[in-house]
């Protein structure tokens, strides 16, 4: 068994293009993700929202807006028609109207418009507060006004155990799930090298006095070794980029190990099916993509949406289980949830391996 495992590893290590791409793809993807949205993106880092100001006066509202940080608001004074034309042309996201009753006109209800609305609400609330304070406690007006100059963050963002979170982590966790599933192709090749109706090499191995389970397991373990190394490299790289996995990062290694094993087992299972090679590749490509998508690779909310509408999918989707396990360790520190995710991954792996073996052993074919 050791001999079979080592020779499998040797063959994979010598297939330079497979090795290169297998190690590099997740790293390239991680770099692209990091460049796309980095770790920790918040509205303060977004570009200034362009808006117009229509006002004859130079009152409090106008002062409030013109005094706004240029990083948040890019304000230009305009007349009424000019402002509406600019709004219709998309040059500005909203038009503030000054005077005694400030208002806002927008043309959409996206992020920028919501920021402008928040600014208007903020001013009106400040104005109402000052009026009330001036009416009831005029002596405290100045000390109250001093508080308006900058709102401190009165909310501390924590995880349940006190670690901070970043919403974009979901993309990276889904990427790690996808990286684990890249092992499916190695698993497929392992199956093809065992099914006598798929290759001449498999014919030779089939007539040798070696137990099928040994062939399956040795191929599986060789693929797993390479895949796991690739995922560990990815974790190291992500850590270098600044992604933190929390204090108990070592708990993520079993997740990656099981995830990689699940990917390989899935590939072996699909390889054991009776269909032509090209179609098997198609199934693997499509299913790993679908699983990664449902785990939140393209749209980070996806796992959340699936959890609401069809939670069973998250329990059988290896990519979602891996992402969830990462959440359990790095974000929630939920050992029970972590253990459940690991157990489900292990169960899927065992089931896939068992079914594959049952299909591959003692098999005679209709044609070769």
């Amino acid at each position: 068994m050791m001999r079979l495992y080592l020779s499998g590893l040797l063959r994979m290590a010598r297939d330079r293009s497979e090795l290169f791409w297998g190690l590099l793809f997740p790293v390239i993807m991680a770099t692209l993700f990091f460049v796309s949205f980095g770790i920790g993106m918040d509205p303060e880092k977004m570009s200034a929202v362009p808006a117009g100001l229509v006002s004859e006066e130079n009152g409090m509202f106008e002062t409030f807006l013109t005094g706004m940080d240029e990083g948040i608001l890019d304000l230009e004074k305009m007349d009424g028609e000019q402002a509406l034309d600019a709004l219709r042309a998309g040059k500005i996201s909203g038009v503030f109207y000054g005077g005694s009753e400030p208002s806002l006109t927008v043309a959409a209800s996206g992020i920028e418009e919501s920021i402008l609305q928040t600014l208007l609400s903020s001013y009106l609330e400040h104005e109402a507060m000052m009026k009330q304070i001036a009416k009831e406690h005029p002596e405290k007006l100045f000390s109250a006004a001093a508080q308006l100059s900058g709102y401190p963050d009165l909310l501390e963002h924590v995880t349940a155990t006190g670690r901070s979170m970043d919403t974009n982590l979901g993309y990276f966790y889904a990427l790690i799930g996808m990286a684990c599933l890249f092992g499916t192709f190695g698993g497929l090749d392992t199956s093809v090298e065992i099914r006598a109706d798929q290759s001449a090499l498999a014919v030779r191995r089939s007539v040798a006095p070696v137990h099928r389970l040994k062939l399956v397991l040795s191929g599986m373990l060789a693929n797993f070794t390479l895949q796991f190394a690739s995922v560990c490299l990815l974790l190291l790289y992500l850590n270098m980029l600044g992604l933190s996995f929390g204090d108990k990062w070592f708990l993520l290694l079993p997740v990656c190990a099981l995830g990689s094993l699940t990917g390989v087992a899935f590939g072996i299972f699909v390889g054991s099916l009776k269909m032509r090679y090209g179609f098997k590749v198609g199934i693997l490509v499509s299913s790993t993509l679908a699983m990664s998508f449902l785990a939140g690779l393209m749209f980070v909310n996806m796992k959340d949406i699936v959890e609401h509408h069809a939670p069973i999918i998250n329990r059988v989707n290896p990519a979602a289980l891996i992402a969830d396990a990462f959440y359990s360790v790095a974000v929630y520190d939920n050992p029970a949830r972590y253990a459940v995710n690991l157990a489900l991954l292990a169960a899927i792996t065992v089931l896939l391996t068992a079914v594959s073996f049952l299909r591959l052993r003692r098999e005679r074919y209709e044609s070769i």
Binding site: R204, S206, V207, P209, R362, R364, S367, I368
Partner: protein, 310 residues
């Protein structure tokens, strides 16, 4: 050693093996000859428990062969029709790998691998990858991988396809040597010359059925043709052709537009002399004269009406 009785295998409506009976004795080089699609490889794959079959029994070494008959498999070496080696492993590593599936002990295996490399003449190519080898060398590697563990029974499925003459001779010599060392050989091919050259007993297959079996001589004696005489560059009228046809032991006369006379005779002495005497009497000039003894192709042709390589 190998006993096949009443074997039937169908691919849908097509019958690939039609109540095939074969008996292979220990120590012989058994040739399975037949055109493409006659069922040779199918018979081999059924024998090795790779293919499902519809009817019949197959026994190797007195036992029924199953996919998990590991004791039986240990005694068998297979050289498949397509080259079956790992592209990422060198020549030596490939032979060692496949030998290790049969011989787990390292020291013993090392000796066997060395012998297999020497046997196949691959000493100079040990560290090369298969993609660097020519077709002939690849075939030799393919054989080395199948016989390194010194099996009792060796099955070679068309081992000389697309192989240069030098490599082919070497392969054939090697097979004879393996037999001399004690292995029983099952050799399938559609090249009759090879089969005639090395096989001690031959079965001719056609459409999944055995149509003739015996030694090379026995097979040739089954047919009418004892000698084929070809005379080139001879000008003959029709009555002259008919006259030749009436000569003793002549049973078939063919005259082509290229002025080539082909005469088939039963086995007898002086067939050539008789024909040449006639031509001389007729003052007919002629060119080259060739006399051929019957081949397995002739056997196949007479039995089936087709050439072996159709």
């Amino acid at each position: 050693m190998v006993h096949i009785e009443n074997l039937v295998k169908r691919y849908g409506s097509m019958v690939a093996l039609d109540h095939l009976n074969l008996d292979i004795r220990e120590g012989e080089i058994f040739g399975l000859l037949g055109p493409n699609g006659s069922g040779k490889t199918t018979a081999i794959n059924c024998m090795l428990a790779l293919l499902k079959y519809d009817k019949g029994t197959i026994r190797l070494f007195g036992e029924e062969m199953q996919p998990d008959s590991y004791d039986l498999k240990r005694q068998i070496g297979v050289v498949p029709q397509n080259v079956a080696v790992f592209e990422q492993m060198t020549v030596r590593e490939n032979i060692d790998y496949f030998c290790s599936l049969y011989v787990p002990q390292k020291a013993e295996r090392k000796k066997l691998v060395e012998e297999a490399i020497a046997f196949a003449g691959l000493e100079d190519y040990q560290k090369m990858l298969p993609r660097k080898l020519s077709g002939g060398l690849l075939r030799r590697l393919n054989i080395a991988c199948g016989i390194a563990h010194r099996p009792r029974l060796i099955i070679l499925d068309e081992p000389t396809v697309a192989v240069d003459p030098q490599s082919r001779n070497r392969i054939l010599e090697g097979i004879v040597e393996l037999n001399r060392q004690g292995s029983t050989i099952i050799y399938t091919s559609h090249y009759m010359e090879e089969v005639e050259q090395i096989c001690t007993r031959i079965v001719i297959l056609n459409h999944g059925r055995s149509i003739a079996s015996g030694t090379s001589e026995e097979l040739k004696q089954m047919i009418k043709t004892g000698e084929t005489i070809v005379i080139e560059g001879v000008d003959l009228k029709e009555e002259q052709q008919e006259a030749i046809g009436r000569l003793p032991h002549v049973f078939e006369v063919t005259y082509s537009a290229q002025k080539t006379l082909t005469v088939k005779c039963t086995s007898a002495q002086h067939n050539v002399v008789r024909i040449l005497n006639y031509l001389q009497e007729q003052n007919a000039a002629f060119g080259r004269v060739l006399s051929e003894l019957p081949t397995l192709n002739d056997v196949f042709l007479e039995i089936t009406g087709k050439e072996l390589r159709d």
